[in-house]
C-alpha cells in the first residue's frame, strides 16, 4: 500500500476486467490518475464507461484485475468508499426531502455527527449555488439544480476521487456551463481527481487534462487530449476562405506547395479545400505544419485569408477514428 501512496496516484487500475457470462463489459483496462487531474472517460454507448466507474467505486466486483483508490486496494471496499464520490448517471432524488436534508443525511452516512453534517450540507449547498434553495423540496428543483445537488452529495466526504457519469445529460447550455465550472473547482480547488464520463467531447476538450477512450470494453487510447489526437492519425484537411475574385490566384499559389491536394468545393466559390497527398505515417504535428504552409503561400501571393479552418484536429475526429479503427 505504501508504494501506491508514494507513487501519488489517486486511481491505479491494472488489467481491470468485468465479464457477465460470455459478455465482456470491461476488458483488461489499465490506467492511473494523479491528484487534480480531470480525466475524460469517453466511449460510445456500451463501451464500458459506467461499468468501469461502478467497478472503481466498489458497486460491482471485478472478474479479474486489481485497482487502488488513494492507495487503498480493491480488497478494502469500505476504505475506498470513504474516499470516492459519485454522481451516477440518471440518479434519482427523494422529492419530498429538502436539499439540506438530503445532504445532511448523506453526511451522516459517512459517519459525521449531526452538527458537522449540518455544516457540511450548508457549505456544499453554497459551493454549488443552491444555498438559497436549501429549504426547498427537491421535487421543486430543476434538472440542473438536481445535478448540482448530486455533485454536492458526491462531495460530502471530501473525496480524493470524484466520478461524474454524464453530469450534463439533459441540461441546457447554461446548466452545462455551471456544472463544468463546478467540476473545474472540484479538481483545482479541492485537489481531487475527477473522472468525467461523457459523450460531449467539446466539454472534454474544455476541461479535461487527460482522456481515456474505451470501445467495447477495451481501452483504445489514453493520455492528454493532444497525445490522443496525435496517436489517432486522423486525416487532416483545411479550408481557406478568400475573396471570390482572388480564388484562382490562391489556387495557383497552393499548387506550388508540395504534397498538397486541392479539392473541389462545390457551390462555394470563395472556399479552397486542401489536404495532404498522404498523411499515413506522418506525425500530426508535421501534418499541421504542412497545412499551415498553405496559408503562408497564399499570403505570399497577396491573397488575404478571410478564414482558415483545420479539419480532423478536434477530439471528436480522434474519437471517431479510434472507435472506428477498434471496431474494424
Amino acid at each position: 500500500m505504501s508504494e501506491r501512496l508514494m507513487a501519488n496516484s489517486t486511481v491505479e487500475a491494472v488489467n481491470l476486467t468485468k465479464r457477465y457470462g460470455t459478455r465482456t463489459a470491461v476488458d483488461d483496462v489499465s490506467f492511473t490518475t494523479r491528484p487534480g487531474d480531470i480525466v475524460g472517460l469517453l466511449g460510445p454507448n456500451g463501451a464500458g464507461k459506467t461499468t468501469t466507474i461502478r467497478l472503481l467505486t466498489t458497486v460491482l466486483t471485478p472478474t479479474s484485475g486489481q485497482f487502488w483508490i488513494a492507495g487503498h486496494p480493491w480488497t478494502s471496499p469500505d476504505e475506498i468508499r470513504r474516499r470516492v464520490g459519485v454522481l451516477p448517471e440518471s440518479g434519482g432524488y427523494p422529492g419530498f426531502q429538502t436539499g439540506q436534508e438530503y445532504l445532511h443525511y448523506h453526511a451522516l452516512l459517512y459517519g459525521f455527527t449531526g452538527a458537522k453534517a449540518t455544516g457540511i450540507a450548508d457549505s456544499l449547498l453554497a459551493e454549488v449555488g443552491l444555498d438559497d434553495r436549501a429549504g426547498s423540496r427537491i421535487s421543486g428543483y430543476s434538472r440542473g439544480m438536481r445535478q448540482r445537488l448530486g455533485i454536492a452529495r458526491a462531495l460530502v466526504n471530501n473525496p480524493a476521487v470524484v466520478f461524474f457519469d454524464e453530469p450534463n445529460l439533459g441540461l441546457d447550455p447554461a446548466g452545462q456551463s455551471q456544472v463544468l465550472e463546478i467540476i473545474r473547482r472540484v479538481a483545482h480547488g479541492r485537489g481531487a481527481t475527477v473522472i468525467l464520463s461523457t459523450h460531449m467531447l467539446s466539454e472534454v476538450e474544455e476541461v479535461c487534462s487527460r482522456v481515456i477512450i474505451l470501445n467495447e470494453g477495451s481501452l483504445v487510447a489514453s493520455g492528454t487530449v493532444g497525445d490522443v489526437m496525435r496517436t489517432a492519425e486522423v486525416e487532416r484537411a483545411a479550408q481557406l476562405r478568400v475573396p471570390t475574385n482572388l480564388i484562382e490566384r490562391a489556387r495557383r499559389a497552393l499548387s506550388e506547395v508540395p504534397d498538397l491536394v486541392i479539392e473541389r468545393t462545390d457551390g462555394r466559390p470563395d472556399v479552397v479545400r486542401i489536404s495532404l497527398r498522404t498523411s499515413a505515417g506522418v506525425a500530426a504535428d508535421e501534418t499541421s505544419e504542412r497545412l499551415n504552409a498553405a496559408i503562408v503561400a497564399v499570403a505570399a501571393a497577396n491573397v488575404p485569408v478571410l478564414s482558415y479552418e483545420m479539419e480532423g484536429a478536434r477530439l471528436t475526429d480522434a474519437f471517431l477514428q479510434m472507435t472506428r479503427r477498434a471496431a474494424s
Binding site: T50, P88, H106, L108, Y110, G111, F112, N158
Partner: protein, 280 residues
Amino acid sequence: MTTVVKSRDLRAPRNALDRPAGRSGWLVVAGQEVQDLWKSGRGPLLLFCFSVLLSAVTYLASTNQALNFLERREAVNLLLQFAVAVGVLVTLIVSADGISGERERGTLESLLVTPVSRRGIIAGKLIAALSLWLAAFLVSVPYVWVLARAVGILSKALILGLVVGTIVAIGMASIGLLISAVCNSNKTSLAASAFLLLILFAPTQLPSGLPQGWFFDVLQLANPVASALSYLTTQLVQGAHWTEDLVYLVSPVITVVLAGGALILFGPGIVRLRAGGDAG
C-alpha cells in the same frame, strides 16, 4: 439564473474522514427510512386504510356480539387476528418496496457507494418497515380496549397482539425484503409479497365446520401466519395459559430465523443495482 461561486472552504480534512465518530450506518439508514416512510405520506396513508378497516371490523364484531352471534372473547380474537394480519400486510408492503423501490427511483447507487454496509442498509430498512407495524398496533389498542375490557382480557390481548404480531411482522418483513432484493420491478415485488401473505392468510378464513384432518393441521402449523393466529385463538377464546400450545409459535419463529438468517447471509450479495445479476 446565476451560479453563485463561493470561495469559502469548509471541507473536512481528508484524514478526519477515516473514522468519523457519528452514528452507526444502519442507525442512520433506519432513521432516514422511518422519516421517509412517514413524511412521504406512504405510512400515514397505509395507517389510515388500516384504521378504516379496523373500525369496520370492530363495528361488525361488537354488533354481532350484541345480537349474541359472537361471544365477546371471540369478538376480541377476531379483532386482534385482523389487526395482526393487516398490520403485517402493510409492513410487508413497505418492506417489499425497500430495495426494488430504491432501484426504480434510481437512489440505490448513491446508497451503495457510501461506507454503510449492505447488511446495514437492510437492517435500516427492516426497522423502518417494523415501525409501521408498531404504529398499526398502537392504532388497534383503543379498538381492543373497547371490546376486551368487559371480559378482563385486555392486558392479555394487548401483550399477545404485540408479541405474536411482532414475531410475524419481523418474519414477513424479512421475506418482503428478500423478495424486494431479488425482483427488478417494484410492481413484481409488491404483487409477489401481497400474494404470499394472501395464501398464508387464506387458510385462517376457512369455516371451522369444515372437516379438517391431520394434513390440514400440519399445514396450519407450518403456515407462520395461520399458526400465529391460531395461537391467539387458543389464548383468547379457549383461555389457555401462554405456555400451552406453544407449538403454534414454532413456524413464526422459524420464519424469523430463516428469513432473517437469509438476509444476513445473502443480503450483501443480493442488494445490488440489478436483481439476479451483477450487471450495472
